[in-house]
């Protein structure tokens, strides 16, 4: 078999596609984190818990109220985003004047509470969320069979990622948001309600995590610890992309998904640490991250 860097050429397109699927999740999750960090300076350790909550919201919405997948795509992030706003108003806003470490501790504690409660109620073995009928088929790409749903994940997440990037970097609303981080008192003097803006930002970032949770629900079994290990990888992605860089988090999310995919072929045992090795290298060579500004 022809080989390319030790990888049989025949498996490259398949692994590339799968890497993109996983990268889409990383991008979507790290985007939310980057938005929250970039605009608020909060290291949101509860991101994985909000991702899990998004998946549970979809699952319970279906089981209890018969809310279908498409409605859940909208309603679950909305509900979880509102919860995020409540968290910001009740707890997080008290910590802005303090060291960022306190925000980290608070969100980490919240994550433990959320995951522990879900475990207590639903157990650890997880529940199946059906793939929506319209996306239940498969596409035969020749080199592999790609479930239609996974293709949808790539498209949906790319659209949302670049939509978010556009809003923050290219619109007036985005400019106002960025102004709020640069100089909040001045912006307030112009009559802008800055606290509301900040709360909405946190809610928005959290809603992105919940959206990723809904997208993941049909792919994995929905359980209380689905976000725990993922959030650590996603943090590494954000650090590699450059803390707070929106574009950096999207690009590095996708790229790391692909790199991880190839590691699974070349040396599978290392596939869960390759992201961290890259993170260490980036921190040594470019401490601000690949897309970081400083």
């Amino acid at each position: 078999m022809t080989e390319f860097f030790g990888i049989p050429v025949a498996v490259i397109p398949g692994q590339l596609t799968l890497g993109l699927v996983n990268g889409s999740f990383y991008a979507l999750l790290s985007l939310g984190l980057a938005v929250i960090f970039g605009l608020m300076g909060v290291v949101n350790f509860a991101h994985g818990a909000f991702y899990t909550l998004g998946a549970f919201a979809a699952l319970l919405g279906l089981q209890w109220f018969g809310i279908n997948y498409w409605a859940a795509l909208l309603l679950a992030p909305l509900a979880v985003g509102l919860l995020g706003i409540v968290v910001e108003r009740l707890f997080l806003r008290r910590l802005y004047r303090l060291d960022p470490l306190y925000g980290l501790l608070l969100t980490f504690g919240l994550a433990l509470i959320v995951e522990g409660s879900l475990h207590q109620v639903f157990g650890s073995s997880g529940q199946s969320y059906p793939v929506p009928e319209a996306l239940a088929g498969v596409i035969d790409l020749g080199f592999m069979i790609l479930p239609l749903y996974r293709a949808w994940v790539i498209i949906a997440s790319l659209v949302v990622c670049f939509g978010t990037w556009f809003v923050i970097e290219r619109t007036r609303l985005g400019a106002t948001l960025r102004a709020a981080t640069e100089n909040a008192p001045l912006l307030q003097a112009f009559g802008v309600n800055v606290p509301l803006l900040v709360a909405a930002t946190y809610g928005g970032g959290v809603a992105l995590a919940a959206l990723a949770g809904v997208l993941a629900a049909p792919v994995v079994l929905v359980n209380s610890h689905m976000g725990t290990s993922l959030v650590i990888v996603v943090f590494a992605v954000v650090v590699i992309g450059g803390m707070g860089s929106i574009l950096g988090s999207i690009v590095s999310g996708l790229a790391l998904g692909i790199i991880e995919g190839f590691t699974k072929v070349i040396y599978p045992e290392a596939s869960n640490i390759v992201v961290f090795i890259i993170m260490a290298l980036v921190l040594i060579l470019r401490p601000a991250g690949l897309f970081g500004k400083e």
Binding site: P8, A10, V11, G14, Q15, L18, G19, V21, N22, G116, H119, G123, S124, S125, G126, Q127, S128, V131, V138, M144, I145, L146, P147, Y149, R150, V219, V220, L221, N223, H225, S229, L230, V233, G261, K264, V265, P268, E269, S271, N272
Partner: protein, 400 residues
């Protein structure tokens, strides 16, 4: 300053928690349970296991040799150091008489070393690694419910004889996974099959599709899933989704009833698996399951039935010898016959394996399933000797 207050608060909370569990040794019989209570294996045994232990103690009458029977439980979080240090602490400070070891082979290997050092019997319930009664055996270890040898002898033999000759493995990259793959590989070869290859997957991987594509590229007929818990359910789910199951036959080298319940029969139907116990085997198993269900609203797994039986067996042995002396109790345990809702004429071999019947099962299709939790049909009942195989000689306690 605030951080310091927080740390003191946490320390105080921890102190009260452990203080409450402190029990005066000597006038009590102390049974400990160290298991994964909050992680990926928590539903297999976990809280349900604690309930089963308490059921057994209540059924036994709550006392033995005139002493009250008390329980201690701890969460090992799948970390061998936590399991071993908790075991040591209980043995030193709480007069622990028996430890029931929960899921995770790695943790149980670490705890077996403590069992030998502290001379406290360890009944391994949830873990599968056969090394526990081979290279890692001790005079105080009993492997009660199932082991990797029995799983391989059951599932792999059934599938190879059914025509699945070439195998590729998806293996959890830790002690249990590699032991399971090795055991299955031997069985496949012994029955005239061929092992094409395998891929070692880190525990708790988020996505299995890359590994599955490699399995498919190998051209093997059988996809051997040498993993457990969420790893097993997520890999089988992805195998269905990616159409791998159209060309390859999946073999569950370890699947629990809770896994099948999570996956649903639509995904799991047709799957072969091996189990030490099933709730719907006979009137005795159904009677136990009914009582368990009333408390937990789930049917018990083989581990949750096994831990009940193990607790009973230990207490019966205590009653017979009239002392809690570990050496005398171990001698009686290896002499007695075990006959209850879990085992029929079971016995504990010199190397510590509890020899009892095992069942090769096939998961029913949604049409075949007539009532809730009606998931398995018996393909083959293996007697204990066939399932657990002959003594290997790797454990110094038992020569070939």
């Amino acid at each position: 300053m605030k951080l310091r207050k927080l740390a003191m608060g946490i320390a105080a909370a921890l102190a009260t928690a452990t203080g409450a569990a402190l029990a005066a040794a000597g006038d009590q019989v102390v049974i400990g349970d160290i298991d994964d209570m909050s992680g990926v294996y928590a539903d297999v045994l976990g809280a349900g296991g604690v309930e089963a232990i308490n059921m057994a103690i209540a059924d036994f009458g709550g006392t033995v040799l005139g002493k009250k029977i008390v329980t201690l439980t701890a969460d090992h979080q799948n970390k061998p150091d936590i399991g071993a240090s908790k075991f040591r602490e209980w043995a030193d400070e709480h007069g622990l008489n028996l430890l029931l070891g929960g899921s995770n082979t790695g943790v149980n290997i670490a705890m077996a070393k403590v069992a030998a050092a502290k001379k406290v019997p360890l009944f391994v319930i949830g873990a599968g690694g056969a090394s526990l009664t081979n290279e890692d055996c001790t005079a105080y270890t009993v492997h009660y419910v199932y082991d990797t040898t029995a799983l391989a002898n059951g599932t792999a033999t059934a599938i190879v004889n059914g025509g699945g000759k070439t195998w590729f493995y998806l293996t959890a990259d830790y002690a249990f996974g590699t032991q399971l793959q090795n055991a299955a590989s031997k069985v496949v070869e012994a029955n005239g099959g061929k092992n094409v290859g395998g891929v070692r997957v880190p525990l708790g991987a988020a996505d299995f599709s890359s590994f599955l594509l490699q399995a498919q590229a190998s051209g093997a007929q059988v996809l051997g899933l040498a993993n457990a818990g969420t790893d097993f359910t997520n890999s089988l789910k992805a195998a269905n989704e990616f159409g791998i199951t159209r060309t390859m036959k999946p073999a569950a080298l370890l699947a629990f009833l809770t896994d099948i319940h999570s996956l649903g029969l639509k995904t799991a139907q047709g799957l072969y698996l091996t189990t030490g116990w099933y709730w719907d085997l006979n009137p005795d198993t159904r009677a136990y399951a009914k009582r368990y269900f009333a408390k937990m609203s789930k049917q018990p797994t083989m581990d949750q039935a096994g831990v009940y039986s193990a607790t009973m067996t230990y207490l019966k042995a205590l009653k017979t010898v009239g002392t809690t002396d570990s050496d005398k109790v171990m001698a009686e345990l290896k002499r007695m016959k075990i006959k209850d809702m879990f085992a029929n004429e079971g016995y504990i071999r010199a190397d510590g394996v509890m020899i009892h019947d095992m069942y090769v099962m096939q998961v029913k299709s949604p049409q075949e399933s007539k009532y809730p939790w009606d998931y398995y049909k018996v393909v083959k009942k293996m007697n204990g000797e066939e399932a657990f195989g002959p003594i290997t000689g790797l454990c110094p306690l038992a020569s070939k």
